[in-house]
């Protein structure tokens, strides 16, 4: 995906979210660290532009909810959770850059319900690369990108990387098909 394609996808997703909710009330966006967070910001800005309403945006770090802690040698970075609003009764749209096995989303839902009881949880992702291992599906998808397990999807966002873009690469030598969930 090019930077323009990303921009258009963000705009389309922001419209879809409002359409599904039939408005902007009762909605909040929660980006999953790391790159889901700037994406959630961008979606919130797009909604503000075409609807005039500023949705609450939060950040969710699912590091402590991973199911594979013991299987990695190095500690994952703890990036921080900030949910500055009450979840109870809200429709939360989780935002992430890539949807893969679904384990990140499962962990995110576990985390969310520790904060309160949302009315509903929806999912918006920039890229759906397939290979689900859990019964999880995205409500809003920027682009479906079929991949093989050996391939790697790289998402760059200007907020965290040099520029915007999505690339697929064959896995670097020695990496191999991951047996653990892609999260992050």
């Amino acid at each position: 995906m090019t930077a323009d394609e990303i921009r258009r996808a963000v705009v389309r997703i922001s419209h879809e979210i409002v359409e599904k909710q039939a408005g902007t009330s009762g909605l909040a966006l929660v980006g999953i660290q790391r790159r889901g967070v700037p994406l959630a910001q961008r979606i919130a800005e797009a909604i503000e532009e075409h609807e005039g309403a500023r949705l609450p945006v939060g950040a969710l770090d699912i590091t402590f909810y991973r199911d594979d802690l013991s299987m990695i040698a190095q500690q994952p970075v703890v990036k921080g959770t900030d949910l500055p609003f009450d979840l109870n009764g809200l429709t939360i749209v989780l935002v992430d850059d890539v949807l893969y096995t679904g384990r990140t989303i499962r962990a995110a839902m576990d985390a969310l319900v520790d904060f309160g009881r949302p009315q509903a949880i929806r999912l918006a992702v920039l890229v759906d690369r397939g290979h689900r291992e859990l019964p999880i599906r995205a409500d809003h998808v920027g682009k479906n990108v079929p991949t093989s397990r050996e391939e790697v999807v790289r998402v760059h966002l200007a907020e965290t990387d040099a520029s915007d873009g999505v690339e697929i690469e064959r896995a670097p030598a020695g990496y191999g098909a991951p047996k653990v969930e892609a999260v992050g």
Binding site: R66, V77, K79, D82, V152, V155, V183
Partner: protein, 358 residues
């Protein structure tokens, strides 16, 4: 906290712009390589910084409506304390439970230890019962190293004899960091490249240094953070420290003195240590009254320090002896914060240790 930014100081490899693989969690430039935490001597400045930042995250968890995360779900943490200590033992238990670990809490006075079961046998039994992590406190310096020799999981030293109390030193450092340094946004609350979190700050540890594992561990962490460290107490309780001070902790020197006025002058932090009644019996001090008169941290003495100086104490306190009651609860005191931070620091350490492949 800005949403787009991770906690100040983390995620540095990503900021350089190199693309990260999406299939693995983002790993940082500082892995935690230690299977055990037996002392603080061997922690690098980066590793201490990692503990501080992980503690920040744990404090956020503690602030939640449900102060619990499943990070250690399915792990068994056994707490084995050979010395009576309610506060630290409970602090570890709370920390482990907040991480969803299963906790077994053994107070040695009630266990077969009193029947003469050796430490080695006790540790083997605990391991056979399924413990993944062992938190222990023991009156003999060095005991956790023996446990680490035979225990298959991780050993976390909750205090050994006079030697070390790593979690206390780290929570002390965290408390100072929180209070002395500006909030994020003003300046990064992180170690600079030289590890000098406390550069230019005068920190005084006051009291019974000789018998104090809290002091010994703090000497390592405070000098590593660049503090101008002073130890002060009656000379019988400073025995041996001059030789250490002149060589330094891994070469980082500090000052030892019996002159309390010189020690407290312009101090940024004053850490008072508990003085025990037994010290009179062993002929080290004439009386508690004399100690309180000459070395007690009173408001009058504290006036020599900076007005915003922090007053700390590892607890439990003998109010009226090493610390005056009004100082203990006064505006300078951060003693209750130490306790709260203690749970967060212990959560951080249990989490970091649990992530190491054994």
């Amino acid at each position: 906290m800005s949403l787009a930014e991770p906690i100040a100081g983390t995620g540095t490899p990503i900021a350089t712009g190199t693309p990260e693989v999406d299939a693995a969690p983002e790993t940082q430039s500082v892995p935690w390589p230690h299977r055990h935490l037996l002392d603080v001597d061997g922690l690098s400045a980066d590793e201490i910084d990692l503990v501080m930042r992980t503690t920040d995250a744990m404090r956020e968890v503690l602030a939640r409506p449900i102060a619990k995360v499943p990070a250690l779900r399915g792990r068994n943490v056994t707490i084995l304390f050979y010395e009576a200590s309610t506060r630290t033992r409970v602090s570890f238990e709370v920390a482990a439970k907040n991480l969803s670990a299963d906790v077994v809490n053994i107070a040695a006075a009630t266990s077969s230890v009193t029947k003469g079961e050796s430490l080695v046998d006790t540790v083997r039994t605990i391991e056979a019962l399924g413990a993944d992590m062992l938190v222990m406190r023991h009156p003999a310096s060095g005991a956790p190293y023996l446990a680490a020799e035979i225990f298959g999981g991780s050993v976390l030293n909750g205090g050994d004899g006079w030697h070390a109390h790593p979690t206390q030193a780290l929570l002390d450092l965290y408390t100072i960091r929180e209070r002395l340094l500006p909030a994020p946004g003003a300046a990064p609350r992180t170690a600079t490249a030289s590890g000098q979190l406390l550069a230019g700050r005068k920190v005084v540890i006051l009291g019974d240094l000789l018998h104090s594992r809290v002091a010994r561990s703090n000497i390592w962490t405070l000098t590593a953070a660049g503090a101008d460290l002073w130890l002060c107490g009656p000379s019988t309780l400073l025995r041996g420290f001059e030789a250490w001070a002149s060589r330094g902790a891994a070469g980082r020197r500090f000052t030892v003195t019996s002159n309390i006025d010189a020690a407290l002058r312009d101090a940024d932090v004053v850490m008072a240590l508990r003085i025990q009644r037994e010290r009179m019996a062993s002929g080290l001090l004439p009386s508690l009254r004399e100690y309180a008169a000459r070395y007690g941290l009173t408001r009058a003495r504290l006036a020599a320090a900076r007005p915003d100086a922090l007053v700390m104490h590892p607890g439990p306190m003998n109010e009226g002896v090493e610390i005056a009651p009004d100082v203990a609860v006064g505006t300078n005191s951060v003693i209750t914060e130490q306790v709260t931070n203690g749970v967060a620091v212990r959560m951080a350490l249990l989490y970091l240790l649990a992530g190491v492949k054994s």
